[in-house]
């Protein structure tokens, strides 16, 4: 009996215009979203290659360890083609500093080069699925009972030896068997488009994740079918039921997520970025004072002069052509200052962490509030499945922070702050004294640096003074005399690619919520239909 009902429902739905229009909607909107996101993925991949090459080049072309600041460039997530989550709002580059732990990733966001484009938004497959599947589910279920009641066929059906639960199950299966092909078709369409896009390659695990996404969509679809059935069983006429369903749809799919984000924005405030910057500036001043104090305590002179040097922020220092005493002074400076710098990175992190936590708290609050609507749950879980949610980003950033620790331990393992290699590639055994340097540079004209200083004091033209020192080219006076560092043993950042279910543990609860919602709605619909007056 139930097979007959299912078959009848299925055929009725199949020939109805709503099936055709729903199909066309999927046919238009799904490729639209996939193509837009493939193009955005392609663009981010190109940017990733540029950034990665630049980072590799910068890391390879250093001659001293103090200039080494590796940059982690995160590749775009292939699954973002389906659900982009927050992946195009956060950057993709993390520079590893000694005096600072990675806070937020840098790099281009969805707007790319033009910041004004940030005023536009764009959808992805998950978003389109959330809109279309819910709409289709409601469109097919809103008149499940009311239409037949109006046509008078419900009475006829019920006059057969068939229980209400059988009738309901038949209806339900009929609707699901109609919608399932649409759902399968949508996913197949998406998959085909991905396969056709040459530059998007999914590993096997990711296809498994698409399957998870499909299962999730099925639950989501079912929830809305149950909502439609419930409304239909509680309504007097099809028109009432339709109006109710459409308003529910707009409310659940469009309004509640925005209201949730708005409430989170208004009531769960994020810390002020300017305040954070101020605190960090103060800490930097404190650190610089502390370094100065330490220099003073150790009798290291404040200023320095050198033959060829390059100093930059975060304690970068590259020195060439100095005397042994000067090199030793630079070495002692680094030995003193760099541990303090590392220590202050931890102090800075306390404030930075508080700021990051406030950002995450707001985002989570918005997420939790949006759970009022099944769409909110669907979006959240889908982003987790696509590895583009906040948790996935947090894992990457944690990885970058861990990499910084590894990198620093590697430096410390070489006892590098106390080594000359920190600031010069020159061989310490070949360091010369001031007098030897002057003698060689002036081609033997002055034997000691004191002689030269005495002569130089009498000169008014500084160019003549320098000219004397440039008479003989000395090997080791300029960076070009040295090769780049061999960094083959430097630790590299590794993004451990996950298994099928990795990172989805926390979303199990959310899926559970969706399932409970589905069961509850089904039960309510069932009860309502049992009490439904078929006359």
């Amino acid at each position: 009996m139930i097979a007959t009902i299912v078959r009848k429902e299925f055929l009725t739905n199949l020939v109805s215009p709503r099936f055709a229009i729903g199909f066309v909607l999927c046919l238009v909107l799904i490729p639209f979203s996939i193509l837009i996101n493939v193009s955005s993925y392609r663009e981010r991949t190109a940017q990733y290659r540029v950034d990665r090459d630049a980072a590799e080049k910068a890391a390879a072309e250093v001659r001293v360890y103090s200039r080494l600041r590796p940059e982690v460039v995160l590749p775009p997530e292939p699954l973002s083609v389906f659900g982009k989550g927050i992946s195009d709002q956060v950057g993709n580059r993390v520079r590893i500093w000694l005096g600072d732990k990675p806070l937020l990733a840098a790099g281009k966001t969805a707007a790319g080069d033009n910041p004004f484009l940030a005023s536009f938004v764009s959808v992805d497959f998950v978003e389109v699925a959330a809109i279309i599947f819910s709409l289709l589910a409601l469109i097919f279920s809103y008149d499940a009972f009311t239409r037949e009641k109006e046509d008078g066929t419900l009475k006829l059906v019920m006059s057969n030896p068939v229980g209400r639960s059988t009738a309901l199950a038949g209806k339900l299966l009929g609707i699901l068997t109609t919608l399932l092909p649409v759902l399968v078709f949508s996913f197949l369409l998406g998959a085909v488009l991905i396969l056709l896009a040459r530059d998007v390659a999914f590993p096997a695990v990711d296809w498994g994740r698409i399957a998870l996404l499909f299962a999730l969509s099925l639950i989501y679809l079912a929830v809305f079918v149950f909502i439609g059935l419930l409304v239909s069983a509680r309504s007097r006429s099809s028109v009432t039921s339709l109006v109710m369903c459409l308003f529910l749809w707009v409310l659940l799919v469009f309004i509640i997520p925005v209201v949730a984000a708005s409430f989170a924005g208004g009531f769960v405030r994020i810390d002020s970025r300017d305040n954070l910057e101020r605190v960090l500036r103060d800490l930097d001043t404190e650190r610089d004072d502390k370094i100065k104090q330490a220099f003073k305590a150790q009798g290291i002179p404040e200023g320095w002069s050198c033959w060829w040097c390059m100093s930059d922020r975060d304690g970068m220092m590259e020195v060439y052509g100095n005397s042994r005493a000067d090199f030793e002074m630079f070495r002692r400076r680094a030995m003193t200052s760099e541990p303090i710098r590392l220590e202050y990175a931890d102090k800075r992190w306390a404030s930075q962490k508080a700021y990051l936590d406030s950002l995450a708290r707001q985002a989570r609050a918005a997420e939790r509030l949006s759970f009022v609507s099944p769409t909110g749950v669907f979006r959240t879980v889908a982003a987790a499945v696509c590895r583009t949610d906040l948790a996935a980003h947090g894992r990457l950033m944690d990885g970058a922070r861990r990499y910084r620790e590894t990198f620093i331990s590697w430096l410390q393992g070489k006892n590098i702050f106390a080594s000359f290699a920190w600031l010069t590639p020159a061989d310490p055994a070949a360091f010369l004294t001031d007098d030897q340097l002057v003698e060689k540079r002036t081609g033997g004209e002055f034997k000691t640096s004191r002689d030269y200083e005495a002569w130089a004091e009498k000169q008014t033209d500084w160019r003549a003074r320098w000219g004397k020192l440039n008479q003989a080219k000395l090997r080791g006076d300029s960076p070009d005399d040295f090769p780049f560092l061999d960094l083959s043993d430097m630790p590299r950042f590794q993004d451990r690619s996950g298994t099928l279910l990795s990172g989805l543990g926390s979303t199990a609860v959310d899926v559970g919520l969706l399932l409970v919602e589905a069961v509850l709605l089904f039960y309510l619909g069932f009860v309502a239909f049992i009490r439904f007056d078929v006359r």
Binding site: N114, F116, S122, V243, I255, V259, D274
Partner: protein, 465 residues
């Protein structure tokens, strides 16, 4: 006769379930939006006061040091949170909202980090514009999708037309009644929101609100009319109200979801601009070129001795560098503006996008406001430069070699902060709002007329039996 039709249609709408649900929904959402706005705007204002205080403090410090420091140091001016953002947020949070300038140039703009939470999934703000764009367009379709096909099904259409009423009048009556019913809902919501904001908000609303609210309502009516026309069209092309509903929903999805969401794709595909890396490369190349061709000694500097002859060379070189970079960057900014405006024009096929751009003009926010502030800052920068040059000319201890980047060869006298010209952002004048919005208005009116005309033609040929 038109009035009879109108009255009948309006009453029909007012008593319908959809009207009641829409009214309740709109009022609740408007109220929720007003409450969150009041809450977050107060906090934003507080934060802005701190930033502005620091900006002035910094300027005062520079002025006390000396006039050249004041002229060459780059300062960042931040835009104030808009008091009428509850009408249309115009994506202010995501657009550039800070401008870096000195007396010599307006350098760049940026979206201050911390304006938007990057971890919070991007979504619209709960402003009038958003609620209206979403709900009004939807309700307008709901009120009209069965206007003709529904009446046909209930067999009243033939009866109506049996009266001495022309088809045009009937259709116009249906359109007008849908717009009026929808506007009644919007006005109820707007009133709720207005009261809530005035009571709960930080009280920085201006008198301009008295013009902005009616302006908003007018634009909302245009949106409602456009969608009502689409609804009528859907209603007359389909035989049954079910089909017309589906057509209406498809139209709505296309306009409210598909078109606005394709904007970034459209911008990057049809109007690509140079990458920022390439521009940076150009700037570096120009700098290298200038340094290479500069006379020897151009880089010499002794800040203790302003009249050192090499300082003139240095000042010349720095000035050339500034102008070279300004030329490249300003051209790039123009390319950005063009890309953005063309994208807007292309996406203006959607009434929802049009409504977005029109409400931005009504509220005087978003891109329009930024462009105005950007242009005004250029004027202010000219004033500041004139002021500095006058100070320098009056100083006999200055060599008058203008160096836009460093404090070397111009006046070293402090200047009273009170005398320094200050930038004051002025709200957009009527002409500034109407001018850019005019093309969108024309497109919208054209769209409305075209769709209504199509609906009229179809209705005239409609078989009412």
């Amino acid at each position: 006769m038109f009035r009879v039709v109108l009255k009948r249609e309006i009453l029909h709408n007012l008593y319908s379930l959809r009207f009641l649900i829409a009214l309740a929904l709109v009022i609740v959402v408007f109220a929720a939006g007003a409450i969150t706005f009041a809450k977050s705007h107060a906090a934003d204002l507080e934060q802005y006061r701190q930033i502005q205080g620091q900006f002035l403090e910094n300027m005062r410090e520079l002025a006390a040091r000396n006039a050249t420091e004041l002229a060459v140091r780059r300062q960042t001016y931040s835009l104030k949170p808009r008091a009428n953002a509850f009408i249309a947020d115009a994506k202010d949070r995501h657009l550039p909202n800070a401008v870096e300038f000195s007396a010599w140039n307006v350098f760049s703009f940026q979206n201050k980090s911390g304006s938007a939470n990057p971890f919070l999934r991007r979504s619209d703000e709960l402003s009038w514009a958003f609620i209206t764009a979403l709900i009004v367009s939807f309700i307008a379709l709901l009120f009209t999708f069965d206007a003709v096909s529904g009446e046909k099904e209930s067999k009243t259409l033939a009866l109506s037309l049996a009266n001495p009423v022309s088809r045009g009048t009937l259709l116009a009556g249906k359109l007008a009644s849908a717009v009026l019913s929808v506007m009644a809902i919007v006005m109820a919501g707007a009133l709720t929101s207005l009261v809530a904001v005035l009571v709960l908000g930080p009280g920085d609303s201006t008198a301009a609100l008295a013009a902005e609210v009616p302006g908003f309502l007018a634009v909302a009516a245009l949106l409602a009319a456009t969608f009502a026309a689409f609804g009528l069209l859907a209603s007359v092309v389909a035989r049954s109200s079910n089909v017309s509903l589906l057509i209406a929903l498809a139209v709505w999805l296309a306009f409210a979801v598909a078109v606005p969401n394709s904007s970034i794709f459209v911008a990057k595909t049809f109007f690509p601009i140079e990458s920022s890396e390439a521009v940076q490369k150009n700037v570096t190349a120009a700098f290298d070129d200038l340094s290479k061709n500069a006379p020897p000694g151009s880089w010499s500097m002794n800040s203790g001795e302003p009249f050192l002859p090499q300082h003139e060379l240095r000042a010349n070189l720095q000035m050339k560098r500034l102008l070279a970079e300004k030329g490249i960057r300003d051209a790039y900014y123009q390319a950005m503006f063009r890309q953005f405006e063309r994208t807007r024009l292309l996406t203006a096929v959607s009434p929802v996008a049009l409504f977005d751009y029109l409400t931005e003009a009504v509220a005087g926010g978003g891109y329009l406001r930024f462009r105005k502030a950007w242009d005004d800052l250029h004027v202010y920068q000219g004033q500041l430069l004139g002021f500095f040059k006058a100070l320098d000319a009056a100083d006999k201890d200055s060599p008058h070699w203008y160096n836009p980047n460093e404090n070397v060869s111009t006046t070293r006298k402090p200047v009273a902060f009170e005398r320094v010209p200050q930038f004051e952002e002025r709200p957009l004048a009527l002409a500034d709002r109407v001018g850019p919005a005019l093309k969108y208005l024309i497109i919208n009116v054209f769209l409305l007329s075209a769709v209504y005309f199509l609906a009229f033609i179809a209705f005239v040929r409609y078989d009412v039996r």
